[in-house]
Amino acid sequence: MNKGLLWRGLLIGALAALAAWRVWPLRENVNLGLDLQGGIHLVLRVETQDAIRAETEKDMEVLRREAEDEGVSGVVTRQLDDTRFEVAGFAPERLEALEKVARDWLGGGWEWSREAGKLVFEMRAVNEKSLRDGAINQALQTIRNRVDQFGVAEPLIARQGIDSERIVVQLPGVDDPERVKRLIKNTAFLEFRLAEFPWSGYGVGSREEILEHYGGALPPEIEILPSEERDRATGKLLSTSYYALQKRRVITGRDLRSASPSQGQLGQPVVQFMLAAEGAKIFADATGSNIGRALAIVLDGKVVSAPTINSRISDSGIIEGNFTSEEVLDLVTTLRSGALPAALTYLEDRTVGPSLGHDSIRSGMRAGLYGAILVVLFMLVVYRLAGVNSLVALALNVLLLFGALAYFGATLTLPGIAGIALTIGMAVDASVLVFERIKEELRAGKSPRSAVDAGFGNALSSILDANITTLIAALFLFQFGTGPVRGFAVTLSIGIFGTLFCGVFVSRWLFDIFYVNRPRTERISI
């Protein structure tokens, strides 16, 4: 018996020491959830339909061009929806030639059916799925790059579930939600396009003026884009002017090798860029043969500036616009991080200021402490000396709870703190069950020693049932919850195991060491 006591004591002591060692100092070892330390939680949807539609457009165009090259003339293409298009207008005897082109150039991604005078193409499901996954992975990578440049410690950026179009982004400690949200979502689609009208200089005041120039109808290869002048300080729209530009892009953001913030001649913030080899060659040709003409810099469909080409430019240049330095930094960040494959929509965003978290921790801890003091007093009054036993078990329980949180790297959230406070109330349940049972056995005339034995033995099944049912609730809670609620489910579950260990094993050991030297005790303080 003595030996058993020693081993059990050593086990309990070792566990307590391990927990204390893991936990101390508390601040560094327990992860605080976003709701406690402040930060941003975002759920975004990747509009993968965009990427799929773009792919359909591209393949349709490839097919038309290659068909022309193969001598299948008069081909007319029409997109039916995101994943389907039809090809018509070809001579019936050229059908096989057209199908050969489709086989050669579209790969295995499409299947088609012959209909009267036309072919209807439909994207294969496999291709659609891989495009979807590709778009999401690229979006993940792009967001990761952008967040990295913003310098966030320990960000979480992950797809929500295996087959969803959602991305979860958690950025602890970030205190500038609007800017981060803008930065993540920024498509920053940059294009350089040659001006058609006006040939150089500032844009004109209205669309009508341009249409008039072309006699009322725009040529198909030209489109009109606006340019907005905004007040630097307030962002208020001052005026809008318009440019007629070629639809064809000279180069895009993809051709950039690097981008960095810089200052223009007047000290205004500008973006300086370097081009990759292939882009540089195209750019040099285009600028060399268009001296005196304006080259419009278009960002997300708006002209940011349209400088006149003064000389042949090969591999570097600056982007001027009416930028604030913050905008320049954000633009550089997005240009560097690569383009998003599809638009993003915020489905959910939560920002918690740390001061709200600080207050919550303080109040939660205080409530837990008051609760613990009252519960302990309660136990001491009701069970006297045995109450001390439950007190020791309770203290050890809380220590083990924090130790387990630290050990598993679990996250402490505000509901989690509430869970701990509540666990204190519920943890004594095991002690209550045992003590009540011991009292009953004493009333039935048993000696203290055997009453303790019988009490523990008979209460065990109740204790197990009671805790397993709570554990079932905690499992559903974990399944249901996101962030904070999950944190709660974790603390609750750990609390249950702690309760079982402390309320049964530790409490029993305490009784045993108390009686080991008093084998014939007649009274028991309970």
Binding site: V174, S363, A367, L422, R443, P484
Partner: protein, 396 residues
Amino acid sequence: MEILRNPNFDFMKYRRIWVGISFATIVAGLVGILFLGRLNFGVDFAGGTQVTVKFAARPDVEELRALVAAAGFKDAVIQRFGGEDAHEAMIRTPVVGGSEEGSAAHLIEALNGRFNGGGGAADLNQIGSASLAELLARTDPDGVGAERGPAHYGAVAETVMGERKTRGLFTGWDEVRRVAGLSGEAAAALERGARLGAFSVLGVENVGPQVGAELRQRGVLAVVGALVGMLGYIWIRFELRFAIGATMATLHDVLITLGIFAWAGYEFNLTTVAAFLTLIGYSVNDTVVTFDRVRENLRKSRSLDTVTMLNRSINQTLSRTLLTGGTTITSSLCLYLFGGDVIRGFAFVMFVGVIVGTYSSIYIASPFALLWESWFGAAKRARGTGAGAAAPRTAR
């Protein structure tokens, strides 16, 4: 100390009355929820935008309401938050049609228009660390040069923002000047180049309508799943009639607490669902202990009638039921009183729920087990299949 010495109350005697009272309470709660729309869904489930703001001066809720309404948010909910002198307010607006991304920016703009004269220079109470660092680096008051600027001012901005985080809001420039790590020159530069707005934004939550609907669905599934899980466990461990009794008692606790919660007007959010799931765990736990004793008594003597058996078991476990109920009520009451505004709703559910749960373990669970027994157990016997040794005959 003995709470009760050999209690011997006849709990089962008035079981019809107790069940009737419970039933009436549940109906009252359901009427409030289903027909009067009393359940106050937060943004988690209803979708929409919630902004928590801390003001330098005490906010006038009526004025805020008018302001928010003028900004185009018709059904906004505005309530004071935190303690009396925290000067905090929470503004909640429903989902705005067509905009999934919420209306926080629009709300804050409206507040800026009223309290800060419409923006302009950078606001030290709303700016983030990155922007503040850039602001300082631009003027370089400490003269560290462009090379070391970003790192140096990055660190300075962190400390200034750290101070704002602990305070929640700067109310005067002397508070800024006192920030350790901010040089006199830098403080002066901030005073020239920035301003102190009349409020800071403590938290923003936007939940799109789609996400809200999904969360609602998952919440209901989790509660139903937990109840079915309990039913299954008790069925395996005990007998079907006990599983039915315990599940009915738990459902009873959930419904009554939900009704009281709805009438009390607290916000129903994700944390509240967590509280209800915890309550389910607690409530079953409480009932199971009594049934455990019933089972034990059944093993000891099979001759007693069910009513006496149930009564005896409830009495034997009564002091445990009351003690554990007492300690849990104590800790949830402490949470309710001292835990702060964010978890008050959670604490309310636990506090009310544990009281109801304790009552139902005594007055509701066993009558339901008995009811099940007398309806289905009797039917079984009538068909001659026999309820077996485990099911003793039913009284009355």
